[in-house]
């Protein structure tokens, strides 16, 4: 699914990622943990193609193609999804029409016909219900006036609708109470399949009680310094990042 080799990236000339390697196979869930400033969000932004992140060395292979040669929107249409740490507000654009535009962009890319309006409506209502999102939120402007928890659940709603093959969750758990965390996790789990992969970026082990990863990696100073199974997360919780990798 995704193979990152010796990735070096910098922001404003400052080197952040310094030789990162990661291989994610279809159906796997990988968690990346690490202290602030380790480069976790930089990795998410480089993968999604955000401006201002310069790859200076290395390669990224996504489904057999060079990811770095694709534009942001092409990456998305090929199935790469980023659940934002800080979801963006778009005044005047309803959540519903935003998602519809996204769905149809993806469908056109796959040379499918646009989705029937009624089918779309019933699908989005079902998914919203699953995430315990009030139906009224579908008609409100994208993320405008949403609480922190609502914004995060809205990200997962988009993920469920778009059914990406690679989902990157950038600190989706931050700012969520335990109930919301469970709802989000349950949403993510419902999407698990042997042709889909997840990259879960988090500070805390807490989320990984609900989204159980196949692999846990510790990112520090731009490199993965340790990898293991889900037990590693628990270990980190006890000894902290300082004790790892030394």
């Amino acid at each position: 699914m995704l193979n990152i080799e010796n990735l070096h990236a910098s922001v404003d000339g400052k080197s952040i990622l310094k030789g990162l390697n990661l291989n994610i196979k279809p159906g796997e869930i990988h968690a990346i943990m690490g202290p602030n400033g380790a480069g976790k969000s930089t990795l998410a932004n480089v993968l999604s193609g955000r401006d201002g992140y310069e790859v200076t060395q290395g390669s990224i292979n996504f489904k057999g193609q060079s990811l770095l040669d694709m534009n942001i929107d092409i990456r998305a249409r090929e199935g790469l999804f980023l659940a934002f740490q800080y979801p963006v507000e778009i005044p005047g654009v309803s959540n519903m029409s935003f998602l519809k535009a996204a769905m149809n962009a993806k469908r056109r890319h796959r040379e499918q016909t646009e989705m029937d309006a009624m089918d779309f409506l019933s699908l989005i209502k079902t998914k919203a219900k699953q995430l315990q999102l009030n139906e009224e939120m579908l008609y409100r402007a994208v993320n405008e006036g949403f609480s922190g928890g609502e914004k995060k659940r809205n990200e997962v709603l988009q993920m469920l609708m778009l059914e990406p093959c690679l989902s990157i969750l950038d600190e989706t758990d931050s700012g969520l109470d335990i109930d919301a965390l469970q709802i989000v996790a349950q949403g993510v789990n419902s999407l698990r399949a042997n042709n889909r992969s997840f990259l879960v970026i988090t500070h805390y082990q807490r989320l990984l009680n609900y989204i159980v990863p196949d692999y846990v990696h510790v990112l520090a100073d731009g490199k993965i310094i340790k990898s293991g199974n889900k037990e590693l997360a628990l270990e980190l919780e006890e000894s902290g990042y300082v004790g790892v990798g030394s």
Binding site: I72, A76, V88, E89, I90, P91, G92, A101
Partner: protein
């Protein structure tokens, strides 16, 4: 009228019902008292109208072209203009294959039906007209309700007393340079009269006024709503309008008596000039509504995407107590377009209320300026105004300017003003792209969201067209 009927009607060419039969000829360029007299004579106008035109002309001679607007253009030589030309039988293209493909592509993007495309492009259509056309049905329905709706010239002959009573009472010929010029030489326009207690049974659209295609550069429109009547009037269309006349100076007057309500919606898409700013229409318009009666209401909604230069301030005089004035505007300038537009709300009556929502969008080298006046006279106890003007910039070569003027002579007034200028944020764009939309769709979506407050004031069909129009107007803009 059902949508299908409307569509069927639009698929037809204009029926030859009441196109004024004028011989095919044009005056020599230039303006003089003789030209004004000749225009009036050609149109066989009553004495009062000739007098009105002459007074306007004499006053115009004493006036200077205004220079206060934030627009730049080479000065107009008013003696180069032909002030009267009969609708000539144009040798139009025989079919759409002879029409500028650029224009056709735009029609297509706007979703305009094929037959209507032919009509707009001026293709000579040998249509066989049904005796019971939709237009006839339309006229009959209006007549049943007692509504008078037709060309201004027609009304001058059929209802001279109404014209004499109301013409120039909202925008006097002394008002400004272009209003004076228009009053002297106006060609034609619309007249609409809604009698007491009547709710006009349909939206009145210039689409349905058969002479619309022939109204020239000096258009004159007058709408009178008697006591407790209601009318919604739609002007213009989203299709790009080309015209060989560069200078347009229209005057629109609205009169609302007690409890009457007029809703006036405009989509202006005159030729804006090419990408380098060559050509394009100069649109200098005076639009004003008079809430003459108590509890009357006038709303202006405008979508301005065309013209090289737009100079336009649809205003409301809130004369009657408890009267309400509204102005909702989207003005978009791309390439080298310039727009200086806004409104004036003049509070005279007690408990009068006005609302102003202005959305300016600049792209390319576009210059977009909001200019608004809220004036509360001493007599206007408890006047209320709310103004919101927002600007959106796309790119770094364009500019937005805001000139709000507030004059308050009564301390009970409450005035609220909010203004914001924003650029389409990289974050918003990235968010849309990450969800798979391409850059163009993403910009259109963000821009349409920005305009939503205004679009929702438009009649439904118009609102949908307006969204498409924004997309076409913003083509090629890179954020």
């Amino acid at each position: 009228m059902s949508n299908q009927e409307v569509k069927d009607y639009l698929d037809k060419a204009y029926a030859p019902g009441f196109i004024t039969d004028i011989e095919s000829e044009a005056f020599l360029p230039g303006l003089s008292e003789d030209v004004v007299r000749a225009i009036s004579a050609k149109k066989n106008e009553p004495e009062f109208l000739l007098k009105f035109r002459l007074q306007a002309y004499r006053h115009w001679l004493t006036m200077k072209e205004p220079t206060w607007a934030y627009v730049r253009y080479p000065s107009v030589n008013f003696n180069d203009i032909i002030y009267y030309s009969a609708p000539k039988k144009k040798v139009g293209p025989k079919n759409l294959s002879e029409v500028d493909p650029e224009l056709l592509r735009t029609y297509e993007k706007l979703g305009i039906p094929l037959r209507e495309q032919e009509m707009l492009a001026g293709v000579a259509v040998d249509a066989v007209f049904d005796s019971v056309s939709v237009a006839t049905t339309f006229k009959e329905k209006l007549a049943d309700a007692g509504v008078i709706f037709g060309s201004f010239s027609e009304a001058v002959h059929n209802h001279p007393e109404l014209i004499e009573r109301y013409l120039g009472t909202v925008v006097p010929y002394t008002d400004n340079f272009y209003a004076a010029l228009n009053s002297a030489v106006f060609s034609d326009g619309s007249f609409c009269f809604i009698p007491k207690g009547v709710r006009c049974p349909m939206e009145l659209s210039t689409y349905f006024r058969i002479n619309a295609a022939k109204t020239g550069q000096f258009e004159r429109t007058l709408i009178v709503a008697e006591e407790s009547s209601y009318v919604s009037y739609l002007e213009g269309c989203t299709a790009p309008m080309r015209d060989e006349n560069q200078l347009h100076a229209a005057v629109v007057e609205l009169v609302a008596l007690d409890n009457a309500q007029i809703k006036y919606s405009t989509v202006q898409n005159w030729y804006p000039g090419d990408k380098n700013g060559r050509g394009g229409i100069y649109n200098f318009v005076t639009k004003r509504g008079d809430c003459r009666g108590h509890r009357s209401k006038i709303s202006w909604t405008q979508i301005e995407t065309g013209s090289a230069i737009t100079w336009k301030y649809p205003s409301v005089i809130l004369r009657g107590d408890h009267s309400v004035g509204e102005f909702y505007s989207v003005a978009l300038t791309n390439n080298y377009q310039q727009a200086d537009t806004g409104t004036k709300m003049i509070h005279i009556g007690k408990n009068t209320t006005s609302t102003i929502v202005s959305k300016g969008i600049s792209a390319g080298h576009g210059q977009n300026c909001y200019r608004g006046l809220v004036k509360v006279l001493k007599s206007a106890e408890n006047a209320k105004n709310y103004t919101q003007c927002d600007s959106l910039l796309l790119g770094s070569e364009c500019a937005a300017h805001t000139f709000p003027y507030i004059e308050v002579k009564n301390s009970t007034a409450s005035i609220g003003h909010e203004a914001a200028t924003s650029k389409i944020s990289d974050d918003q764009l990235f968010y849309c792209l990450q969800r798979g939309m391409n850059q163009e769709d993403a910009i259109n979506m963000i821009v349409n969201g920005f305009c939503k407050q205004v679009f929702k004031e438009l009649p439904m069909e118009f609102a949908v067209e307006a969204q498409k129009l924004m997309a076409v107007s913003l083509e090629g803009v890179v954020g």
